[in-house]
Symmetry: C2
Subunit: 535 residues, 2 copies
């Protein structure tokens, strides 16, 4: 048996025995077969000694059991790593940052506590997945939609706390922004409710975010300050209709007005969904090395002219912007008409209008949709999409994603692709895929550059090097990651270094105060407890 | 000269002298005439010994000076109370919670650092008022709107940190929700930038809220954890047009579908502005004691019938809901048309449509508008409106506002007015005014019950008693205040008592960690430093 680092084997045995009496004999795991389930399926340390391992796992059934488990862990100073469902593949999955930690698996806390149809919210536990909530709403005839990320098997709470995002409208598609109210078990076992939840019998815990006094909710996302055991989320009342449309622009420099107009429509609320930019020209470049080379020199006017000629002669749109409208039919049509007017100032602009969908759809209509997340239907089709899109000849065992935040301007779109493209070329690296910018959040784009994990450790080692290099290069250009795999949390946090890392020092001050024994999720998002902190 | 509590007079003299050398001789105030300016103009302790006083005031010019001042204060353990412009009358103004504190007046930090037209944001300092920003944008031909509260003379940062709200669209009308990125000077003088601001040279400090790791921004609102010296805000691109409309409903129980439909339209994004409910019947009750009495018994069906008869025979609408639409003309018209369809299910519903305004307006058109805050134009007309609306025969010297958060349901509207009305009747108290619910925030209503402050301390004492009683009664019904006057912060915080005040204990743990000498804004929002904490 593995003992967690810094823990006396006898103390660990004693803790395991206490946990068994709290959670039940069968919910404390120490055998290799069960612990294997907590390994990171997409680990970049595949087949290496440095792969993160787990000493044990405990799966409580209630917040009260979480409290009791934390008190035991705190007394014995045992490192604990809470997970909701551990499905955040590409970001570390269910494996901790500190090898040898004990996973606190919250999958049994899977209750949907309240669905409020009139005020459109839900209160639930961390073990509830997007699939679970979707089915629950559908089976109960609810008129509420959820917003789900690409794979639908994950936890709403887990995804929200990792700042995950989806594809319908604001604020719902920003999964942390759409939360309202938390219940948290602190390291010492104390239970806290945030916002209006601190008022016993409050009528607005899931409706008013702030409560009275400072708002602490943000502390418990992307961090290691507590175990979230309940969270509320605002839901989106099912719209009457949905219209998808694509705007196409013909020339390289059109990206600037294309994004400016898109940003203006978004900021003014005429469009409320995320925007997926595309580029048939960049897709062509994936198959044409000469064209790919040209894209590394778009800072030269002559190159941009060549690219425009190529687009013209191959009848390719240079850029596309995929828009989505949700709402009453007449509103949706007016919004799209207004958007067309705005975009029509770009010479040669084109429009493709999808079929207007009216809700509810039949199960057959849903099953036939290419992009179910756009209408809040959780699914797992992203996994086959990813494996199709890889250009890597080696069989992939998973992937990790580099995801910098860039401004919502055409200049940033061009510059980020050029800079990162050049860096990848210099390092002779082909990613599994590199997306065009997506506005997951209200006012920025994220680019997702995914790298395959393979069986060969030498290739994975190089991937890790490339990943670390990209973090630095991006930071030099003012672009930071919004989230990352556990293996790179220290590297990403390190570039957020303003005033000699004063924000990190503040995080550490908070960590020492809230979790003085440093037992919770050591190293998560670059925050280490005092006894493990590097000098 | 007054010395702050617990501070040695010699140490205080020494601090004053150091502050003079930091901020300049003329920016450290200790004379009675200047310190009078920092008294709470609306203090509920008017003409009483217990009125809060100020020992000194320091007005630095830069964040660097704030750092230096805080270091001195920390060394001498001098209580400091930062204010932005101190214009939050009715909530304590520029006066501290702890009498004898030194006011850190940030009015000279009044720089508008960046206005970004393409991505619609601003970065500014705490001394910048709504008037300042409005004029700056207008004078520079900006196409961006601001959202301002009822008086426009306050600070954007101050109002945001107090969870203030305004009258245009979400997220802008929630002044904390619309912020993006902070710079904070901690008690020890350390300077921190939050979100992407922690990444040197970040391109998205005012565009991406989270940064990497935990988000600490919420800690610095309604609290005493730091001095905010810069903040970014998202601005609203000037819409093409604006339409105001009023929906009227004829009978008492119509409030239930009226609010349900309003909530659904809001949650689904068809309406994005705040909603002002009204009631000509309740207005009539202000002038008719018999009618007022009836409103205390709306839990009886017979009483509701009588009220309906009264409304019918006096040709009064029972309820009104004022809606506002902003956007392209065709979108606005489609939204209003859809809203009418939804409301038309209420028998006897009526609609009044305002003139559709097209922007930009001329200065004359703006000057002629009854409700300039609805189009983001700061003004001070609320002050004359308040004095007109008072029914108190004694000349008013100001007012304080009790403002509970209630759910967005018709039942809550009825119940909150009945319960609070009964309580006021039992205590034989007439407030200056009591509003119908306003949806300042996305998913809740706030009712504002204002009490006049007068010259007679006996009356003010009773007002304070009434205020404290209302806090308790509201809490028993699940309604907590969203913000309060400094005199009642302990009382309001006390009802947020879940799990024997565990949220307060967490706040105190954070306070002790971030401000170990407890020098910053002791008592603000019920958070006291260790040495002043009540057992």
């Amino acid at each position: 048996m593995i003992t967690p680092p810094g823990v006396d084997p006898e103390a660990f045995e004693s803790a395991l025995s206490e946990w068994r009496s709290i959670a039940g004999e069968q919910w404390v795991f120490t055998d290799a077969e069960n612990l294997d389930l907590y390994r990171d399926a997409y680990t970049p340390f595949r087949n290496e000694e440095t792969e993160i391992i787990v000493a044990a796992a405990v799966a409580p059934d209630t917040a009260g059991q979480v409290q009791a488990i934390m008190r035991v862990a705190n007394r014995h100073k045992i490192p604990i790593y809470p997970i909701s469902t551990g499905r955040n593949l590409a970001y570390g999955g269910s494996a901790p940052v500190l090898s040898g930690s004990v996973v606190l698996d919250l999958k049994r806390l899977n209750r949907i506590i309240e669905v409020n149809e009139r005020n459109a919210y839900v209160l639930l536990e961390p073990g509830v997945s997007y699939f679970d909530l979707y089915r629950h709403l559908r089976d109960n005839g609810s008129k509420l939609w959820i917003d789900c990320p690409d794979p639908g098997w994950g936890s709403l709470i887990g995804n929200s706390l990792d700042h995950g995002a989806g594809y319908t409208v604001a604020p719902h598609r920003d999964h942390f922004d759409s939360h309202c109210g938390m219940e948290i078990v602190l390291a010492n076992g104390e239970i806290v409710r945030t916002g209006m939840g601190a008022l016993p019998g409050a009528e607005t815990w899931q409706q008013f975010k702030y409560g009275f006094g400072p708002t602490v909710d943000g502390l418990f996302a992307q961090s290691n300050f507590g175990v979230v055991t309940k969270m509320g989320f605002w839901l989106f009342p099912a719209p009457e209709s949905f219209l998808e449309a694509v705007v196409t622009a013909a020339r390289h420099d059109d990206i600037i007005p294309l994004v400016d107009i898109t940003a203006r429509l978004t900021h003014s609320g005429v469009m409320n969904s995320n925007i997926l930019l595309g580029s048939p020209m960049r897709d062509a470049a994936l198959r044409d090395p000469d064209l790919r080379e040209l894209f590394l020199h778009t800072d030269q006017a002559e190159v941009r002219r060549k690219l425009d000629d190529y687009a013209g002669s191959h009848k390719l749109a240079f850029w596309t912007s995929r828009l989505k409208f949700y709402g009453p039919e007449k509103v949706v049509k007016a919004q799209w008409e207004h958007a067309r007017e705005r975009y029509s100032g770009i010479p040669g602009v084109g429009f493709q209008e999808g079929e207007l969908l009216r809700f509810p759809l039949t199960e057959e209509q849903i099953a036939g949709m290419r992009d179910q997340v756009a209408i809040g239907v959780p699914n797992l089709s992203i996994f086959s999409a990813i494996s199709r899109s890889t250009f890597n000849p080696t069989p992939t065992m998973g992937h990790i994603g580099f995801s910098p935040v860039i401004p919502m301007t055409g200049e940033a779109v061009i510059e980020s692709h050029r800079v990162i493209g050049q860096e990848l070329a210099d390092m002779d690296t082909t990613p599994a895929f590199m997306t065009m910018p997506i506005s997951y959040h209200s006012r920025t784009f994220i680019i997702l550059i995914a790298f395959s994990i393979v069986e060969d450790p030498a290739i994975n080692r190089k991937t890790r090097e490339v990943f670390r290099r990209l973090i630095k290069v991006a930071a030099e250009h003012g672009w930071g990651e919004y989230r990352t795999h556990t293996a790179f949390m220290d590297d990403c946090a390190a570039v957020y270094s303003y005033n000699d890392h004063s924000l990190r020092r503040l995080h550490e001050t908070l960590k020492d105060a809230i979790d003085p024994n440093g037992i919770l999720s050591a190293g998560r998002y670059g925050i280490w407890p005092r006894h493990l902190r590097k000098k």
